[in-house]
Amino acid sequence: MTEKEYLDALNKALKWLPKPEKEICFNYAREMIEDRIENGFSEAEAVAQLETPGQMAKAFLEDRGSLKFKFSLPLNSGLTVILLVLGFPLWGALLLAGLMVLLAGFLIAGCVPFLCVVLTVSLLFVALVSVSASPFVMGTVSFTAGIIQFGVGMMALGGLILAALGASLSIPWFKSAVMKTAQNLRSLFFQEVKKW
């Protein structure tokens, strides 16, 4: 096997990996072959000393803790294929509607963390201006107005802490909800392949 053949085979075995990661594994294997060639081995000998591309790829993937996913709709019999094609107007529309409902749900749910962040920022400014300007209001407008403004600043400060707290709770919650749904959707059509 030549170096190119070995690397091509490795590339194929790692096709599930994202490109930057594949690049790292690829460079490592090439490094190992070229080091050997520089140490006086022929190309064929150098490649032969390495483990097979499959074993190498397996080690890379296991280290990464990755799983292989396989498309797994039950398309094994001709009848199911025909039914799927005939039924497309029905299940296609249902699938689309379901996805739209899901999307709408996420848009609404996403408003909560968004609102919390916006509220935090705007209340921060309200609190800053209200509190720091309250002495000036006492001077230019009236003493009572300044006191009331100071109270408003305190309320804004409290509100900002509560909004920030809300953001810190709702952002991870929203994120994990999106991740979980994505995983569930994937597991509808894809199956984890642990052995290979």
Binding site: L123, F143, Q149, G158
Partner: protein
């Protein structure tokens, strides 16, 4: 530094500030603040609470826009 029970403390602090602030506002309003707040259009930009058309406005104007605005 790690603050233990951070969320609980933040909740308590937030509620504390909101309550104290509203007490101060309430006390100020009770002590004749309604007249003091009736500033009208001549109010300075850094005044964040005033009374307009008989309604209390809490607002912060920023670059010709309103960063925060409620009236009740």
């Amino acid at each position: 530094m790690v603050i233990r029970n951070f969320r609980k403390k933040a909740l308590i602090a937030g509620l504390f500030f909101v309550l104290t602030g509203s007490l101060i506002v309430g006390a100020g309003l009770a002590a004749g603040g309604r007249d003091a707040l009736a500033a009208g259009p001549s109010k300075p930009w850094y005044q964040t609470i005033w009374i307009e058309d008989g309604k209390i406005v809490v607002s912060l104007d920023f670059l010709n826009g309103s960063l925060f605005h409620i009236r009740f």
